[in-house]
Structure formats: structure tokens, C-alpha cells
């Protein structure tokens, strides 16, 4: 699992590459837990290369959800593979998080 951060003016894009499971969840958690991430208006998660997500991986996003909402930072997922989207959907997270098809919608969101 590799996390690459691409900051721009008011948006931070995180590219996830690999399997997000219990062992790699910590890498992402470190990235999302950084205090200055709340200075961005939007955090976009590029899931194009995210091939698998376990419950521990979902737990990372869930644990930061409230914090992002309170700070008015928009969390947007895009380029999600169908298999990964299914996991979000089964848990009911699709109704709670913004998941859009591509970067165009993500930037417009």
C-alpha cells in the first residue's frame, strides 16, 4: 500500500495504491491524522489503484469522518473500482460519503 499526497491550492489529493488492510491502514491513518489536513477545503481520494479494502481500512475513513465534517473539509472518493465500491455500499457508507465516478466530478463536488 502506497499513499501519495498531491497538494494544490485548496485541495489535497491522496492517491491510494495497493491493498488497504489492517497492516497498511496505519499509513493512511497517519496521513489523515495530520492536523494541517484540516486547512484544505477538500480532500480527494483517488481510488483508481486501490485493489482491496478491509474493515480495518474502512475504519480509518470512518474514524476521521466526524473530524472532517466538523472542520468543514469535504471528503470525496473517485475512480473507485466496482469491487471496492461494493464494500462501501454494503456497509451503507455510500449514503454517508461522497463517491463520484471521476476526477472531473470530484473537483466539481
Amino acid at each position: 500500500m502506497k499513499v501519495t499526497a498531491q497538494p494544490s491550492a485548496d485541495t489535497l489529493t491522496l492517491l491510494l495504491d495497493g491493498e488497504l488492510d489492517a497492516s497498511s491502514a496505519i499509513v493512511l491513518d497517519t496521513e489523515l491524522a495530520k492536523p494541517d489536513i484540516l486547512n484544505y477545503r477538500k480532500v480527494l481520494i483517488d481510488c483508481a489503484k486501490l485493489s482491496y479494502i478491509s474493515s480495518a481500512g474502512l475504519g480509518v475513513f470512518i474514524s476521521h469522518l466526524q473530524r472532517f465534517q466538523d472542520a468543514n473539509v469535504k471528503l470525496v472518493f473517485f475512480n473507485m473500482q466496482e469491487k471496492v465500491f461494493n464494500v462501501f455500499e454494503i456497509l451503507g457508507l455510500d449514503a454517508l460519503m461522497t463517491i463520484v465516478p471521476s476526477v472531473t466530478e470530484a473537483e466539481a463536488a
Binding site: 489492517a22 491513518d29 474502512l58 470512518i62 474514524s63 456497509l91 451503507g92 449514503a95
Partner: protein, 488 residues
């Protein structure tokens, strides 16, 4: 071979005390006894040679060997580290014929409490304090050191010491400093550099014994942890219902397997008043002991919320409907679930008098269903959020009830993601919802027990050779036409 190596090593050490001693120390423990025998044999069967009177070499060597042997045997006798240090102190004193000595131990590594952190030999604590203070002022706290006239030492210049010769020797392991050994004599110029070498052999041996004792302690602790996990596993097993509900309206078959000693999957049943049955299944995120605690908690929540409400005005309100149950469970869990944990669950209340059921899905796997009249297998598609994700009253907006009338012959397959996400093939293929659906299409006409076995056989064939990485639970419920109960 061991006897030969041991013999050569110990005798070469004694012949040439200037050699580096630490390299052979780690395996000395293993061969010490044999080696010592060999040396003793050599010593005693030596051709008689005149031994200079001022150097009583043989008795001294004999003492050294016996001291080493005592240190080595301490571990085998299962003694404590305090005893190892005591033997070290006594052996060191005897070997260099010290008049007094003390041993400073580091409580953080030796496990010896502050009050016993210094051991004395023929010395008062105040005397040791005076010497320690004088030495520390001009010496690094660590390191080997021999001084043959303390009155010349910067810390003591001008004072008249009761003791004149001193050896300072740290007791060092590979990773830890255990303490420092101090040996003193009244007369000046009484310690030789070779004394330091033989003492180093002793401290190395003592460290080896201490570290072996520590290894033994850790391994005993691991053993105890294993035992406790076994008990936890038994306790958890007792939380899983063994006697499945039976009635002539349905058949139930169940399977559960934890990936580790304890797991986070659970299911349970409860007969409700009237001809109703509550069935719950759930999966706590994560694995192991933490998940097992939450699983037990969820079972408790299920049993307490599914109590009949005596104040209910009508039959319908006596028990919470599944969506209400989930909202209440979500509130209860909000206080104790770690932020990154959540629970998925589905609750079904089957009314087999009315021939229908109502259920709510809180982020749990979709229910697989065989509809007998339409001869069709499908997954129920309903929305519903997992528990512990939103921790306020707005959760209720994210959970819904779904009502369904069943017909005899219908089959309901309820499971956890450990089934559909089981890995096979090259290790990245998942069993999947489609394959599970196909298996039900091929087996729906069998009884519940055989449908379950059919699915599990296929699953085990698929995952063959791969370790299970998540807990697996599978329940098969088959609705039947009412048949009279067999006469008892």
C-alpha cells in the same frame, strides 16, 4: 566433539587469560559441564611437575572452574536472578581473594527492586557510598577499571583510604547493562590485569545465566497467555448457540469458524412470544480478543433489547422492530466501541404463524434468498448503515425495515463476509456473491443441513491450501409447510 571443544576452550582460556573471552561465552553454558570435566581430568592426570610455591596455580584454577560451574548450574536448578548475583559476588571475591566487595544492580534491567539493588560483601553501605562518590567524580560510570592505589586516584587524593586496590567491572549483556561489580583489597598493588580477565569470564557467565532465566520466564508467560486464550476460546464457544431452535415450520443449520482462537462473528436466536423467532447475525470489525469482547457485548445487547416490554399497549410494540433495535444497539455501542471499529449486523424476526418476516440490515452482507414459487435465487437489496459509524440520533435515518412473506420451500442464507471474501486461486481471488448464489441454485431443494454442507464443501475446495484470514459464519434457514409435530 562437544567434550573436545569444551575442554580445549576452557583450558586455553586458563592457559592464556589474555585472550578475548566473550566470543565463546554464549555456548559455554552448553558445554561447561563436559568442558570442566575435561579440564579437571587434565589437571589431575598431569605429570607431576614442580609448582612454584608463590603461585598456587592449580588450586586457584580449580576454584575458578568450580565457580563457573556453580554459575552455569543455577539456571538448570531454576533459581532466581538474585541468587545468580549472589554467586557471582561470592565467586569473584574468592577468585581474586578480595577483602570486600559490592555489586550495584540496575533495577530497570535486573527486576531487582531499588531497596535490594546493592549487594555487599564484608562492607558497610556507607563505605560503599564513600567509595562510589569518590570514583564517580573522576571515572566514567561504565567501563573496566583497575586501580592499584586509591590514594593516588583523583577522587581520593590526600585522603587515607582503608582500601587501596580496586577493580570496577560492568556486567554487560548484548543489549543491557545489568550493573557494576566492585572488588577491593586493603593492600595496594594487589590486583593483576589477568584478574580482570577471569572476572570478565564470570560476569559473562552470570549474564548468560540471567538472560537464560529471562528467556525461561518469557516462555512461561507465553505459555500462560496461550492457556488464557484457550479459556477465552472456550468461553466464546459457549456464547454460540448449540441447540438450534426447532419447529415444524422451519429448519435451521449453522456453521461458524474463527480465524484465530477467538473471533468477532456472532449469531443467536430467541423465541419470542407468539410464534415468532428472532435471528441475529453480526460481524465485529477486526479480529482477535478485542473483536471477541464486542461480540459478547452484542450478544448481551440482543438479549436485553429483545425482552418483552410489559408496558406495551399492543402486541406489535412488545418487542422492538428490527430498525428500532439497530438504532438502540447503535446508541449502546457508541459509548464503548473504539473510533475506528464498527459492527455489521442483520436482525430478522420471523413470524411463522403469519408466514412472513421483517428484517433490518445494518451494513451486513446481503441476505441470499431462494423464492420457491418463482423458482428464483436473489440477494435482498436494501440500504442500511453499519453500527458505530454514526454515533448520534441521526443513525435512525439510515436504517430501514423490510417486510417479506415467505412460502414453504423458500430458503434464506445468512452469512458473514468471511464466506464471500474467502481467498482462493492465486490468493487474490474471492469466493464472491455470485458463486454463493450459484451453489444455492444447485441445492435449494435439499434440507437446510445439506444445503449448508454443499456450500461449505465448495468453499473449502475453493480455499484449499489458503489459511482462513477472517471468521466465517453461515446460517441456512429453510421454511417448510406446516407438518404435525411427531408424537413423542
Amino acid at each position: 566433539m562437544a567434550l573436545l571443544i569444551g575442554g580445549v576452550a576452557v583450558s586455553s582460556l586458563l592457559a592464556d587469560r589474555g585472550t578475548e573471552t566473550s566470543s565463546w561465552a554464549p555456548w559455554l553454558l552448553l558445554v561447561a559441564d563436559l568442558g570442566i570435566l575435561a579440564v579437571l581430568a587434565k589437571l589431575f592426570f598431569r605429570p607431576a611437575a614442580p609448582v612454584p610455591a608463590e603461585k598456587p596455580a592449580v588450586p586457584r584454577r580449580h576454584d575458578e572452574i568450580l565457580s563457573l560451574q556453580r554459575l552455569a548450574q543455577i539456571v538448570q536448578r531454576g533459581q532466581t536472578s538474585t541468587q545468580v548475583y549472589r554467586v557471582l559476588l561470592e565467586s569473584a571475591v574468592q577468585t581474586v581473594r578480595a577483602d570486600a566487595a559490592w555489586l550495584d544492580l540496575d533495577p530497570s534491567h535486573t527486576g531487582i527492586d531499588e531497596t535490594n539493588a546493592t549487594q555487599y560483601y564484608h562492607l558497610l553501605p556507607q563505605q560503599a557510598d564513600t567509595l562510589r562518590t569518590g570514583l564517580l567524580a573522576h571515572l566514567p560510570a561504565e567501563g573496566d577499571y583497575v586501580t592499584n592505589d586509591l590514594n593516588q586516584h583523583p577522587g581520593f587524593v590526600g585522603t587515607s583510604q582503608a582500601f587501596r586496590s580496586l577493580i570496577q567491572l560492568p556486567i554487560r549483556g548484548l543489549h543491557n547493562n545489568y550493573g557494576t561489580l566492585y572488588l577491593i583489597k586493603i593492600e595496594p598493588r594487589t590486583f593483576a590485569p589477568e584478574d580482570l580477565n577471569i572476572l570478565q569470564t564470570f560476569t559473562n557467565q552470570a549474564v548468560l545465566s540471567i538472560e537464560n532465566l529471562e528467556l525461561m520466564r518469557t516462555s512461561l508467560e507465553n505459555q500462560r497467555t496461550q492457556e488464557e486464550l484457550k479459556i477465552a476460546s472456550q468461553v466464546q464457544d459457549s456464547l454460540i448457540p448449540k441447540n438450534l431452535p426447532t419447529d415444524n415450520w422451519f429448519e435451521i443449520s449453522s456453521h461458524s469458524l474463527a480465524a484465530k482462537e477467538v473471533g468477532g462473528d456472532f449469531y443467536d436466536f430467541l423465541h419470542l412470544q407468539g410464534r415468532r423467532l428472532a435471528v441475529i447475525i453480526g460481524d465485529v470489525s477486526g479480529k482477535g480478543v478485542t473483536a471477541a469482547f464486542h461480540m459478547a457485548q452484542m450478544k448481551g445487547i440482543f438479549h436485553s433489547l429483545m425482552q418483552e416490554n410489559p408496558l406495551a399497549r399492543n402486541e406489535r410494540d412488545k418487542f422492538p422492530v428490527p430498525s428500532k433495535f439497530m438504532a438502540q444497539a447503535n446508541t449502546a455501542l457508541s459509548h464503548c466501541l473504539e473510533k475506528s471499529s464498527f459492527i455489521t449486523s442483520s436482525l430478522y424476526i420471523i413470524d411463522y404463524e403469519q408466514g412472513g418476516f421483517v428484517f433490518a440490515r445494518a451494513g451486513h452482507c446481503h441476505t441470499l434468498y431462494y423464492h420457491a414459487l418463482r423458482e428464483e435465487v436473489f440477494y435482498f437489496q436494501s440500504a442500511g448503515l453499519g453500527l458505530g459509524i454514526i454515533r448520534n440520533d441521526s443513525y435512525e435515518k439510515h436504517i430501514k425495515n423490510q417486510f417479506y412473506d415467505y412460502s414453504p420451500g423458500d430458503v434464506m442464507v445468512i452469512y458473514t463476509d468471511g464466506i464471500v471474501e474467502a481467498r482462493g486461486g492465486d490468493g487474490t481471488d474471492e469466493y464472491g456473491e455470485d458463486r454463493l448464489k450459484q451453489r444455492l441454485e444447485e441445492s435449494y431443494f435439499q434440507d437446510a443441513e445439506n444445503i449448508k454442507s454443499f456450500i461449505l464443501d465448495d468453499l473449502n475446495g475453493f480455499t484449499h491450501g489458503h489459511p482462513i484470514h477472517d471468521d466465517q459464519t453461515l446460517l441456512v434457514i429453510k421454511f417448510k409447510s406446516a407438518q404435525p409435530l411427531p408424537l413423542a
